[in-house]
């Protein structure tokens, strides 16, 4: 018996896996950040789906997803700032060349 929430959970799982693959294999750091945003979006979809179709439907799930979006926005801003600072110092956004800490 597949319930109503199952398609949303499957879609969120697919999006999360695509985001994970992108975050682990892409070279450009901007795309890595965007892939992390995609994973956060998959989690948001789960939260909103359970807020409507879960055992105890409640608006708290939507509020949690709003907080999640806020944290994601802060993360994107700080990530882009770090990228620009690194690009000024090193002239690259390739994640494979970001190895200053281990030298």
């Amino acid at each position: 018996m597949s319930t109503l929430a199952t398609p949303y959970l499957m879609l969120a799982a697919i999006l999360f896996c695509i985001g994970l693959y992108g975050a682990l294999t892409k070279k450009n750091a901007v795309i890595v950040l965007l892939s992390v945003e995609l994973m956060l979006n998959a989690v948001n979809l789960n939260l909103v789906a359970f807020a409507k179709l879960g055992v105890a439907p409640n608006l708290t799930g939507q509020i949690f997803s709003l907080f999640n979006i806020t944290v994601a926005a802060a993360e994107a801003a700080v990530g882009i700032a770090l990228l620009i600072a690194l690009y000024r110092n090193k002239g690259t956004v390739d994640v494979n060349e970001m190895d200053q800490m281990r030298r």
Partner: protein, 175 residues
């Protein structure tokens, strides 16, 4: 699982879910298969917009509009600015380590298999009725300013700290 696909498509909201889901997955897949970084950001914006459509289907209108404003508006534009301010002429080429890509793909496929198994085998009880009220935004506002007011204020402090920190980090050293 596939037996009830016929009755699945008879309902309009299920059809809309299918369209938005195809758009979301298509945007995500194109975003990791395009070679130019700007195209990747645009196709991810398509994914964000279709997720906003799914939120409307789930009766979360306020979250949907926040999604359009924050993700499709702010974060996509921020990422495009990030691409423009760094090196954007070169195309994203393949990794020099194909073994790494293959291993990551295998691991992600394994994770998806586990998730698929867990989701398909879980029996979710029948959902209750969401008491969302007439005005979704009004209800969310009432809840945020009564029950969740402390996390809300913490969020504003977090945003302030993060954005001031971002400005300090990205500022030029000499001025």
């Amino acid at each position: 699982m596939f037996g009830d696909l016929g009755e699945f498509f008879t309902s309009g909201s299920n059809l809309m879910f299918f369209v938005f889901a195809i758009l979301a997955i298509g945007g995500a897949i194109f975003s990791i298969s395009f070679t130019k970084v700007v195209h990747m950001v645009i196709s991810l914006a398509v994914t964000f917009l279709s997720l906003a459509g799914l939120y409307v289907l789930l009766h979360a209108e306020f979250v949907a509009f926040v999604q359009v404003l924050i993700y499709a508006g702010a974060i996509s534009i921020l990422m495009i600015f990030g691409i423009m301010m760094t090196k954007h002429a070169e195309e994203e080429q393949e990794l020099k380590r194909p073994l790494h890509s293959w291993l990551v793909g295998l691991g992600v496929a394994g994770l998806f298999g586990i998730l698929f198994y867990a989701i398909q085998n879980s029996t979710l009880p029948d959902p209750g009725v969401l008491e969302a009220g007439e005005n979704n935004t009004l209800e969310i506002g009432k809840l945020i300013f009564s029950v969740h007011v402390i996390p809300f204020e913490l969020m504003s402090v977090l945003l302030t700290v993060a954005f001031i920190g971002a400005i300090v980090v990205a500022k030029k050293e000499d001025d």
